[in-house]
């Protein structure tokens, strides 16, 4: 679907120096979207056409409200694309494709562990909401640089969900000092959780997702991973966003992050190859 989303709210998310933004749009995308899906938004800052920058930017749906027909995008200003996006004003209309891709699927029962690295937290919030609505137990592991980041990137909203949260920071300014994989590994080691039916969903830097996947699979915990790749078409037509997977027969195949993903089964991903 190609539609225009109208900007309803656009504001810094937390500390200005984190360069995070919250963008809420009125959009028909809301009525069809699922947690883990994304939109490809045209970044332009002017009514006058320009081909530089050329491509749309993929951004995850970080909030989906079908009643209000609203979606929320959370993003970090990283390069020219997001810098331009950051200049959208309330009332502006942005050209958006979506909802795109295949999102997370929920387990039928048991405990769902969400394991986030940095801004990988963003697509997990609607997943947590949906899981809780379906009566699943949700637990969050979230690692990041430091406390100001965590507080800026939505910690209070997560705390408001009333779920168990394990935080890690590289500098120890909040929660465990170190990588998010450590608390995950520790809890997986514990005797008492062994009997539970646990599944996991992770989003964050590739190396972190790989480590999470290895930890989980070693304990027979199924894990879904949300991958990122540079995109051209965002609809499966250009093969720009390939990811290498091992299919059921053990053969190496390529799938498309934009269409077959961004969410894949961790056990299928071939991590050690770029593609």
């Amino acid at each position: 679907m190609l539609t225009e989303g109208q900007v309803i709210l656009h504001e810094p998310l937390g500390d200005e120096e984190q360069k995070l933004r919250k963008l809420v749009l009125k959009s028909p995308i809301a009525s069809k979207a699922e947690a883990g899906q994304f939109t490809a938004v045209q970044v332009k800052d002017s009514a006058v056409p320009s081909f530089d920058p050329l491509l749309r930017r993929p951004i995850s749906l970080a909030g989906i409200s079908s009643e209000k027909e609203e979606i929320t995008l959370l993003y970090r200003i990283q390069g020219r694309g997001t810098e331009i996006l950051a200049r959208a004003q309330v009332g502006d209309r942005l050209s958006m494709m979506g909802p795109l891709g295949c999102g997370f699927s929920l387990p039928a029962e048991g405990e769902l562990w969400l394991i986030a690295g940095g801004i990988g937290i963003f697509p997990l919030y609607p997943l947590a909401q949906k899981a809780m609505a379906q009566g699943l137990q949700v637990r969050l592991f979230w690692g990041a640089e430091n406390r100001p980041f965590l507080e800026s990137a939505g910690l209070t909203s997560w705390q408001a969900l009333g779920i168990p949260i394990e935080l890690s920071t590289l500098d120890g300014s909040l929660g465990h000092k170190g990588l998010v994989t450590e608390p995950v590994g520790n809890l997986l080691e514990k005797q008492e959780i062994r009997g539970n039916i646990i599944s996991a969903a992770t989003c964050g830097p590739k190396k972190m997702m790989q480590a999470v996947t290895e930890l989980c699979l070693a304990r027979q915990v199924p894990v879904q991973v949300s991958l990122e790749e540079r995109m051209g078409c965002a609809v499966g037509a250009c093969l720009g966003c390939a990811v290498a997977l091992i299919d059921e027969t053990g053969a190496k195949v390529h799938k498309k992050v934009c269409q077959d993903g961004p969410v894949f089964q961790g056990k299928e991903v071939v991590w050690d190859e770029s593609c």
Binding site: F51, R230, A242, C275
Partner: protein, 305 residues
């Protein structure tokens, strides 16, 4: 006001209008259907296929450049067998003309592909990619040496009863020589241009952005080069041309028609605006109407006179 006649004849193929989509940017025809009704297109060109399946190049495969896009997909495709089994039955149902695009690493590859794709396949034509710059071994050779180009086109021509479209690479000293070679080989149509070979460097990591180092440059950045080549070939060779390279707006498309393209093809433009083909069609139609041009074919090559 009289309606504008948009039908376009391309060496025996009748397209409902001159808008087609580029190989490698439009998948197997279904991906963009929710954005742009397939039956509004003159035709689509499928992703390039090779005899054997190919995984293509490692990622990153894409890099954005000023008004352009570099890609190093590297001819990822399911291979001929899987194409015939899984894709062909679907694409032949599409309500538009479907052009297959074939690539190979040897003459035999091309012949094998051509033999498997005849008129009874339901395809409209065979586009022979002798120009993909991404494959290290062989691919480039056919596209840059006139003798080899002639050889591969005539072998394909002999192997299939479908109309043959020769897709030319811009990475050559003399595009007209390549076009003439394709004509000698028996090509029914010429398609130009493929991508220009380029690269980008990540100055933080101090290495090429694309895992494959080089990629093909497409998009508006290359439009002036594409237009020049269409112009030169139109002036020198008497074969219909499918013009492509950086077409995003209807004005771009009109430039190509005036330069001598009988049909225009949209590639990277779809990524920018998935409704680009529709908007281009509308724009061309209005342009003709406002100027009292009865048939879009009347525009072809008009800027030469």
């Amino acid at each position: 006001m009289n309606p504008v006649d948009l039908t376009t004849q391309l060496a025996g193929i009748t397209l409902r209008n001159p808008i087609v989509t580029c190989s490698g940017t439009y998948g197997f025809g279904e991906e963009y259907a929710p954005y742009c009704p397939v039956d509004s297109l003159g035709g689509i060109t499928l992703k390039g296929i090779t005899p054997l399946p190919r995984l293509g190049n490692p990622v990153p495969r894409l890099a954005e450049t000023p008004a352009g896009l570099l890609n190093s997909v590297g001819l990822e495709n399911p291979g001929l067998e899987e194409f015939l089994k899984t894709y062909l039955p679907k694409v032949r149902q599409l309500p538009t003309e479907v052009i297959a695009n074939i690539s190979g690493f040897s003459l035999e590859d091309y012949v094998q592909l051509a033999q498997a794709l005849q008129k009874d396949s339901g395809l409209a034509a065979l586009e022979v990619n002798i120009s993909c710059p991404n494959v290290k071994h062989g691919g480039m050779h056919f596209g840059t040496d006139p003798g080899s180009a002639e050889e591969v086109i005539s072998a394909v021509k002999a192997a299939t009863d479908l109309p043959v479209i020769a897709k030319l690479s811009p990475n050559v000293t003399d595009i007209v020589a390549m076009a003439r070679a394709a004509q000698r080989g028996g090509a029914d149509v010429l398609s130009l241009i493929n991508t220009l070979l380029g690269m980008q460097i990540d100055i933080h990591q101090q290495r090429p952005v694309l895992a494959n180092t080089f990629g093909g440059l497409s998009g508006p950045a290359i439009k002036p080069v594409a237009l020049r080549m269409v112009w030169q070939v139109f002036a020198a060779v008497d074969l219909p041309i499918i013009g492509m390279g950086g077409i995003v707006t209807w004005q771009d498309a009109v430039e190509f028609l005036l330069a001598g393209a009988t049909a225009v093809s949209i590639g990277t433009g779809n990524f920018v605006n998935p409704q680009a083909p529709l908007e281009i069609l509308r724009g061309i139609t209005d342009y003709c109407r406002q100027r009292g041009v009865a048939s879009v074919g009347d525009l072809v090559g008009l800027a030469h006179s």
